[in-house]
Symmetry: none
Amino acid sequence: MTAAIQQLRETLAEVDDLKRAAAVLEWDLETYMPPGGVEDRAAQLGTLGRLAHELFVSERTRRLLEAAEAEVAGDDFDSDDASLVRVTRRDLDLDTRLPADLVAEAARAGAANRSHWQLARERSDWSLFEPSMRQTVEISRSMAAAIGYEGRPYDALLALNEPGVTTSQAEALFGELRAAILPLLRDVLDRADRVDDSVLDRELDTGRQLALSLEVAQRFGFDLERGRQDLSAHPFCVPFGPGDVRFTTRVRGTARDSSLFSSMHETGHGLYNQGIPRSLARTPLWDGASGGVHESQSRLWENVVGRSRPFWNYLFPVLQSAFPAQLSGLDAEAYYRAVNRVRPSYVRVDADEVTYNLHIMIRFEIENDLLEGRLEASQVPEAWDAKVENYLGLPPPPVADGPLQDIHWSQAPMGSFASYTLGNVISAQLMETIRGDIPALDGQLAAGEFGPLLDWLRARVYIHGRKFTPSELLERVTGRSLSATPWITYAQTKFGDLYALD
Amino acid sequence: MTAAIQQLRETLAEVDDLKRAAAVLEWDLETYMPPGGVEDRAAQLGTLGRLAHELFVSERTRRLLEAAEAEVAGDDFDSDDASLVRVTRRDLDLDTRLPADLVAEAARAGAANRSHWQLARERSDWSLFEPSMRQTVEISRSMAAAIGYEGRPYDALLALNEPGVTTSQAEALFGELRAAILPLLRDVLDRADRVDDSVLDRELDTGRQLALSLEVAQRFGFDLERGRQDLSAHPFCVPFGPGDVRFTTRVRGTARDSSLFSSMHETGHGLYNQGIPRSLARTPLWDGASGGVHESQSRLWENVVGRSRPFWNYLFPVLQSAFPAQLSGLDAEAYYRAVNRVRPSYVRVDADEVTYNLHIMIRFEIENDLLEGRLEASQVPEAWDAKVENYLGLPPPPVADGPLQDIHWSQAPMGSFASYTLGNVISAQLMETIRGDIPALDGQLAAGEFGPLLDWLRARVYIHGRKFTPSELLERVTGRSLSATPWITYAQTKFGDLYALD
């Protein structure tokens, strides 16, 4: 008779196949699907999602999991089998608590609200989106109630994205960050003229931009035998398995909106997935540890590497030889400074490193206020405007560049924004350890040698897939729990130097 | 309580969703998937295929079908409900006989053998493909045995593709065709110098070729809001639903290998699928009547239209203005003659209309010999070479242009080649009726007006989807059963004129 763990693996492999197939359909929807495909595709995705869910929460899976738990009881915590059983238990408990009807309602509402969001954004009219926002809040509350929580409803939603992280922990983190960022930002803005980024407005050929961003992705270590780059309106990365990890980028006409940073960001996600071993494939362990840990890799490669001085010492000559006319008379240092200029703005995805976390705080606070009844859907724009003034010192934006800028609130449940800031914080915490382990790192980056960094990340982070919670992973890799300090030190040092603060 | 037919429709919709999702994964595999994706994709396709099969042959579906049969007992044979129940019964009886494991094995083997085929073809080395061929034969035999047959294993495989057609009927048809084609070919080759096709060797820009072939597809009536054209090594057409029908093409450097005819061929398939009403979607009725009837549409648009004199009266000026330097000093008649030159060659997809069916006979005979044990996988190349000499009068080809030229034998079961010749025969039989109904057809084609022809096909053929067997459809549309005579008359008339035979 086959061991329960083996039978469990077979069932989980089927569930994974269904989810990955759905991911292929979603990738296609964003990249190549003709407009007429919407109706058929929605039906196909609905069926795949329902079947995957039914198979996963079935009585049979539950029985196999119980038997497997008994089988692996004495195994090492870190072993593949023990981790598989532990993570499957966590997922199954969560998925079992969510009623199928509620999940279906969320999917239906999400499909409809996505187009309401598009229209509302196009017309910059909150009233067109307000009913959708109300629905998102209601479904999020119902889901939080179904999952269960002790103090704060956001805790239940965090459990879906960031296992082990609580709302008050996140609030404390945001508090520390705010206390450091606001004075830093003030100092920087007092010396705004010390960094000139006008070079970024020069026009660059889009074909050559795309070729260059793909070249950088490969240089970082992204394997095109096991992945692709395509175009889509909103860049994303999606893994179909260890042999096929894809990301998308977008390209516009100037260096300011170049595809390069978007590609480096998605490449970071892609490197993570390409680095998770095939031995974990077709199980719930074959993925990143959490949304935040995944984001730590996109932010690490995009910012900590891709906006660093050594990186630009390497890349600038390459960029200059791709665009000799546009970039003549400049040097690496000037370009490094330009891509790091700090400038409060309305749109999160265009934000610099200093202000980015402020954009997340705005959303995190509003989500909590909505969930806990301190704010109505109708009041979101005014709350938004107040926070934009408070944090970013800017006058109220058009609502299209305010609460309508992100697609996220058209999809229930809320609760995924915190992962972006966790990603920033984790990337800096990892980098502190990496710098200890690889003292020659800056020299390597300046030589375009990314192998030692990638090898370190693969051996210490990627190899574990989804075995550990974010804190378990950080404890193992950095020797301490999640902390805002490394990011604060990183930002103060980097921007203190750039703006010649005291 | 919901009527059984309604519940049956819901289950069939889920089965269809799974199959269409698999089709998206297969399309992607041929167009964009990186090489490393093979293993994961094979697993995903295996699971989707198995789940679709299990759901379809489940006890529940069977009970619903029985109840639905009672409900529609008095309905008109041609009605949607009666047809749905009748075709579902036929499919269910067939699929019930096929064990789920065998179906999953075929899907897994197909995904793996596709890449073996690619490599073997690249290196023109049969030994690299021989194990795959053996596997295809074994799976085909197992499937034939599972389906059951009285005389010939090929009967069982034909039942999957061409309901109502038997091996001996196909053999009789091939016999009639052979008896007409071989003397026609002899006569034509005796006067080979009467048609000059040297113009086809002029080099044409590939980008402009692709644009032109897409323009012709649209001109025929292919709707790009509900479809796409992409590139792949082996052109194909695949429908994901009424709103998303895709075809691929390939492009090479000369007019001889232009993408035009390949695109017109796949466009024919695409027009068929785009013309099947949405009311039949997500049921077994939303597809072509059979492989052969589907092929009748690709051959009708590629050859009966696309290689006709009136069509070239329309298209030649368009082609000439796309390639003024290469096509100067020519006229429509010269080009019409060039694209119809008869010349025995190795590659099926490049074959002229006279020799094309001989290519199919080679494959049909070898498949029967393999299935009935008269031939081993290792002996395929020598059997191939002998038939190439016999039918086409040519010396042995490199194996890449011999039995490795088609992807088909990487996929089990065999048995689909006969549909190509059925397609030719059916296209001519339909065209005979069409010419009676639309006397002005040639004038319309010469004016680039394809609407009346497409409308006729939609109203008489496409609208029925898969309601009828090939003979039921032909009886309804042409008033008689499948016959080789219209094709033979068509070929003798057309090539008699072209080569000025007596």
